[in-house]
Symmetry: C2
Amino acid sequence: MPRAQLHDGCPQPRPDWVPECGGAGYATWILEGARPSGVASAIPAARRSRLTTADYVRGVRARDPGILGRALSLVESNAPAHREAARALLAALAPEAGRARRIGLTGIPGAGKSTFIEAFGLHLVERGHHVAVLAIDPSSQVTGGSILADKVRMERLGRHPSAFIRPSPSGGSLGGVTRKTREAILVCEAAGFDPILVETVGVGQNEVAVRAMVDAFVVLFIAGAGDELQGIKKGVMELADLLVINKADGDNRPRCLAALAEMRRVLRYLRPATEGWNSVALTASALTGEGVGEVWGGLEDFFRTGAATGAITRRRREQAVAWMHALIEERLRAGFYGAPGVRARREELERLVAAGSTDPLTGALFLLEAGGVAG
Amino acid sequence: MPRAQLHDGCPQPRPDWVPECGGAGYATWILEGARPSGVASAIPAARRSRLTTADYVRGVRARDPGILGRALSLVESNAPAHREAARALLAALAPEAGRARRIGLTGIPGAGKSTFIEAFGLHLVERGHHVAVLAIDPSSQVTGGSILADKVRMERLGRHPSAFIRPSPSGGSLGGVTRKTREAILVCEAAGFDPILVETVGVGQNEVAVRAMVDAFVVLFIAGAGDELQGIKKGVMELADLLVINKADGDNRPRCLAALAEMRRVLRYLRPATEGWNSVALTASALTGEGVGEVWGGLEDFFRTGAATGAITRRRREQAVAWMHALIEERLRAGFYGAPGVRARREELERLVAAGSTDPLTGALFLLEAGGVAG
């Protein structure tokens, strides 16, 4: 079966099956990896260029890596031509979705995120889990390479037949990166992956978006030169259900333990990220493997507690309804701000309101009028 | 000049000049207070029942308490009949607005908020400032009494001729409480008050809304039985430019100093609320007056630094533009969710999406269709 290869020195491999109708809106990478043994392509070669919804569903259920990659590319596509097929696929997979533990994971480069995810993922696959890693990187675009470099670093996990690693193309808007990631989670769930790890770098906005689509959120820290915590944008820690001080090995270990004590003090002043769960701080080392099992243990505790209190069910229900309304509001905004009259006047009115020559209410009324909406 | 009186045992005084056209949407209290000496009503008695925009502007500029109260009631009114007059008044006052230091202040009941504001306000008026206090309380409705009780407790400040205390009627939505409060700030600025204190209780959502309309944000804490901090909903402290541990007097003083040290440690892990300003923690006592001057000193530092770095100008420009777009989006949402087709289907679709029987994207498309918007 044809798959794109990671050519040496080529930062931007593209699959050879980019749909003919996709156009410039179509963007993905696929990654070199092993075919799970015993899984043959579910689709005969002759039909490979055009799949029906039923073909996709069959391939996703069989965890066929080729079909799975194409299904993800379809739901991630920005091309209008793919919209209806993507919607039909998601609707068809809906009954199979929702069964995985959804775990968000963050930490800026330097916190050892990819080595930690590799160690953590290997810990899970060795215990019989099928693990999917969806990676979001707001700095990467279609032509960007930073996520790719990350994936290359997760070489061992990427080669494991029970693991699936997928970079999410970055869109930067609600309808872009987060929408695609949310839908990619559903596809991976339907394929039977559990847990699903959603990886993102430590930039505020993205973390909040990921927090809104996962059950549990893990934040990676590293200890600084003293006992202070580093490696994370301030303000992200209050999103965390589990806080992990990584690189707790060798000479660094005492500093990490001091940082752990400090972190536990700070936690007392933060609102818990999940109702009924006191956020837990741990140390770990991706290098020695120490503490990696405890992180999974902490997450199992989280899911056990969350199931008992009903917090996870409630969160998912609220997330789904909030998501529906977010999509609607995105559509309303896009419709309004895309209207020619609004585009013509928006910049000028923003300038006048920023300068204080027009008050915001008057500015709003003018812009609404320009968009044909009665104020 | 006729003014409503606070009758003993009557929690809901209403002014006697409620406009004939206001109807049920019209809601305000006014408070017993002293007329600044030498300020006569700017409006002849015969015309009191109907003011023109020019009458309002003249009265507000003269800081006539009666006209000021009526101007605030007009901009706070929910009645459609007042909308155009309110808009005209705000536009006319716009050149006079924007000159005051806008300070948000929060702390749950028990943190000694009203006694602190009274001590703080008296400190300011004694130094020649004209101080306006706008109070938001999400628990109070037209018939509620908690804010009123607060105002009665600020008796000394309320009687001072240079002070103006005004409860903001609670609406609970963007178009309600916050919109009215933002507009009330502009009216008070045009009247020459500076600083303007916007008081709110420690409930997350409201704090964020107030943060978005002030330059500086002060959070009041109290020390607990140990050295821990109490009296504030966790998560609010990262909004603060100034953190004040109140009730630092008598036996409580050592605990407050321990809590202060703890707070300064915690602050190192929070994102600063204002770019270029390191949030400051202080102790104060509204009872002895100790530290109250230092709070004003800290705020003066804040405004000096913010003027030098340009952070305040940038914040105001961004707040104004964000506010314009928030008003537009509120209007778009109200138009969509108010449409009969959407009202008919919303509840059912929310239920299906929450239950997982319909995916959020499909739900969104159905609801958009019901509202006549192309998905």
